[in-house]
């Protein structure tokens, strides 16, 4: 890792991907929590 070329591009590429996926995942889970409170447990077949 000492003489790595294109460090900026690699960091940007990986950073954007992992950051976006984390944000999107978090948002989806949050949406699910808000909605789950409005629905009786028997409609949540997976629990």
């Amino acid at each position: 890792m000492l003489a790595v070329s294109h460090v900026g591009y690699i960091a940007a590429g990986w950073g954007i991907v992992l950051g976006s996926l984390a944000l999107y995942g978090l948002r989806t889970v949050r949406r699910g929590r808000t909605l789950a409170q409005q629905v009786p447990p028997e409609d949540r077949r997976w629990t």
Binding site: M1, V4, H6, I10, G13, I16, L18, G25, V29, V39
Partner: protein, 260 residues
Amino acid sequence: MTAPHAVGSGPSGSTSSGATRVLGGLSLAGLALLLGYALVWSPADRTQRDSVRLMYVHVPSAIVAFAACALTTVAAAMWLRRRTEGWWVLGGASAEVGLVFTALTLVTGSIWGRPTWGTYWDWDPRITSTSLLFVMLVGYLALRRIDNEAGDAAQRGTRGAIVGLLLFPNVVVVHYSVDWWRSLHQTATITRLDPTIEGTMLFTLMLGIVVFGLIFAWLLVHRFRVGWLEERVEHAGLDDALRARRAEAGVVAGLGGGTA
């Protein structure tokens, strides 16, 4: 990168279950391994040098994006045949997750292109057809939003489903026509990858595809359950609306004959 603290099931309910927790754990472990291989243990390419490390995030994103698109088409076809709510919800879930991966494919491709080709954008068939796929997914999701206003699953029409059904065939036709178009035109073809990649590099790429597949599955399951819950919330609204409507007539609420 799936934020383990978000995967717990609270008493008030969430979209996670035992299966998604396992899936999330596997994704995270795989991701850690992938980061090690992609950024540290795999060698630099002879011509591209270290910029090849972007391949391990770009190619898996692209594969997952196209798979999501194919899944949307399958879901649309099944919805047209069976008319069961699950297929409707699946189509929307895979299109939305697919849209995220398509955007990431374009962004990483562009970032990778700069050190490799010296430009952020090239009229490469893959970039062109991926950008058209992006617009098609946006259009499909816009149409679904309109379909959702039409009420519950039984009321919903075929508008979104037919666009969804044509999604993957269109992407394939667009891809091949663009491919054909460029191949007749281009004099100096710049190959992105060495024709054969071997050893650690190939293993890292395969690992990337598997890990991104796991992340996609985790996101898809959660997004599917969100869609499912949305349907339930809407469905609960119908009985209330019926009661309110019948109350206008001054009759006792409830279907199947009043006791006024």
